[in-house]
């Protein structure tokens, strides 16, 4: 592939794109995605890097005006390709899971700890009471949507993108929803006079 400056890429791709530049960019995307997704492709035999590259290429050509020139053009283009590919891989991996299917958190109160790191009986009592309090706070302070999103992301490890799709919103708005939820709980903890140090000490194992 010939070396191109950012300006060269933009000139070659704007308007009616130059065939050589498009081919070079597609090659770059295919190669980059091969490295980027090396650990993910085994789990999804249907995944096709060529398809991801093609879809990314179209998106890049449509988005040229949003390139701010703060990096190499090729870095920016690969950023878009990685997002396109991972969005699709996530969609396929989680496609059969609905929010209603997600398992609620383990109901066993306390996991068994190794003896040398087991909390003292007093600490176990404090932890149990903190647990009660946080659960109550979640019920009292958070909306149903906030609670649902928080549990899907934190308990079940569902990607924000996938939770957002099911809640008919987008990832950025879902992050904001979770941020608002965390802020509400933070305010409530502060209002109860609980310092970060107190909380961490209660949650420590020894």
């Amino acid at each position: 592939m010939r070396e191109r400056s950012n300006a060269d890429w933009l000139t070659a791709l704007r308007g009616t794109p130059d065939d050589d530049a498009v081919l070079d960019l597609r090659d770059l995307l295919v190669r980059g995605l091969g490295f980027a997704l090396a650990d993910r492709l085994g789990a999804d035999p249907e995944a096709n890097i060529e398809d991801f590259a093609q879809e990314s290429l179209l998106k890049i050509l449509r988005s040229l005006d949003t390139f701010r020139g703060e990096s190499q053009f090729t870095t920016w283009a690969q950023k878009i390709a990685v997002r396109v590919a991972l969005t699709e891989l996530r969609r396929r991996r989680w496609r059969d899971v609905s929010l209603e299917d997600l398992q609620p958190p383990e109901s066993d109160a306390m996991p068994v700890e190794l003896p040398d790191s087991a909390p003292s009986p007093e600490q176990q009592v404090m932890q149990a009471s903190l647990l009660d309090m946080v659960q109550r706070m979640m019920m009292e302070e958070l909306t149903e949507r906030q609670r649902q999103a928080m549990l899907a992301v934190m308990v079940n490890g569902m990607p924000l993108e996938e939770v957002a799709r099911r809640m008919e919103t987008n990832r950025n708005a879902l992050y904001k929803l979770l941020h608002d939820a965390r802020q509400r709980m933070q305010q409530r903890l502060r209002a109860q006079g609980l310092s970060v140090q107190d909380l961490m000490a209660t949650l420590a194992n020894e």
């Binding site: 980059g32 701010r68 991972l86 958190p105 306390m110 924000l160 992050y175 941020h179 909380l199």
Partner: protein, 81 residues
């Protein structure tokens, strides 16, 4: 609803570390190419762009994309060397 101790820790940590100026996924994505190049160049990207680093620490989707991008860039840098 009941939380396990591990989950409680994770939850409490995420709550107490919440900051008012967090950026969202869109802002993070807009800056991710520059952030990745700083990391690649061995610069202290977290110091130069602390809100991006903070977002990557909290958002697993964005972190996954950043790590994948970095793998691609590193492999290409190595191949070109």
């Amino acid at each position: 609803m009941a939380l396990s101790l591990d989950l409680l820790k994770k939850l409490v940590h995420s709550v107490v570390s919440t900051r008012p100026d967090e950026i969202g996924c869109d802002d993070c994505f807009a800056q991710l190419d520059r952030f990745a190049e700083l990391v690649l160049a061995g610069k202290n990207a977290a110091e130069a762009m602390p809100l991006v680093q903070d977002h990557l620490d909290r958002c697993m989707d964005c972190r996954e994309e950043f790590e994948a991008l970095l793998r691609a860039l590193r492999a290409q840098t190595a191949a070109a060397a």
